[in-house]
């Protein structure tokens, strides 16, 4: 189906929208439903769609697997790292209050950061899994 013109055009225009939506979900999680996890899934969906339409190799060229592996680890490290930072700033583990000037500011920043970590890991792991399954089928 990779040579279906309409499909290509539609998806080309669709993918950016999906990504924007993902970013919205990522950063609007504080106020509405959503957050890093959902955002990660949606973001990965964008890439998966791309890979489905333009072929697996094209998909893997967008984000090489080593890159994914590093991103996945990075996400975890960001999350856990925030905790370590709070430790060094004299708080308990993952006590964001010490991150900013005020408690609330600190909390806000902390939540933002960890959600980012979540998003990264989920996004890249979803892709890792997808590519693993899809790649297994190839001759």
């Amino acid at each position: 189906m990779t040579n279906n013109l309409i499909l290509r055009v539609v998806s080309k225009s669709l993918i950016p929208l999906i990504i924007v939506f993902a970013l919205y979900v990522q950063f609007h999680g504080d106020y509405g439903p959503g957050g890093g996890f959902q955002a990660g899934v949606i973001m990965s969906a964008a890439i998966i769609l791309y890979a489905l339409v333009f072929g697996l190799d094209a998909g893997e060229q967008v984000i090489p697997s080593t890159m994914l592996r590093i991103l996945a680890s990075l996400g975890v490290l960001i999350y856990a790292g925030v905790g370590v930072v709070t430790l060094f700033l004299g708080g308990n583990y993952l006590d964001y209050s010490v991150l900013g000037g005020t408690r609330v500011a600190g909390q806000h920043l902390g939540i933002l950061l960890v959600e980012l970590g979540v998003g990264m890991t989920v996004f890249s792991v979803m892709l890792i899994i997808f590519f693993a399954f899809a790649g297994r089928g190839r001759p």
């Binding site: 106020y31 509405g32 439903p33 996890f37 989920v122 899994i129 693993a132 399954f133 297994r136």
Partner: protein, 118 residues
Amino acid sequence: MDFIIGHYNYWIAIFLMMTGFYTVISRGNLVKKIIGLNIFQVSVFLLYISMSTVKGGAAPIITEGVKLYSNPLPHVLILTAIVVGVATTALGLALVVRIKEAYGTIEEDEIHQQDHSL
């Protein structure tokens, strides 16, 4: 009557759980087992969320003038549980793929035959 109104939610959730549970322990097809597992878990989520709902309560997003909210804690727990669930599913399916490659089948009893006919 009130009792039933107040509980049918749980009971149907339990019914769903048991269909999933049954699929897991009675079926021999490895993929279907995993689907059963998913149904089992999703229904457990239903049970949790049923416990969190408050009649006339709003979604737990603080907004002006809303007094009553449903209980956010089970929501959080279930969010985590959902993620755990999908992780398990992915791992399980990956195993199924490998088993298919190694045995050429994903039917439990055929696999047993192969291992014991040796």
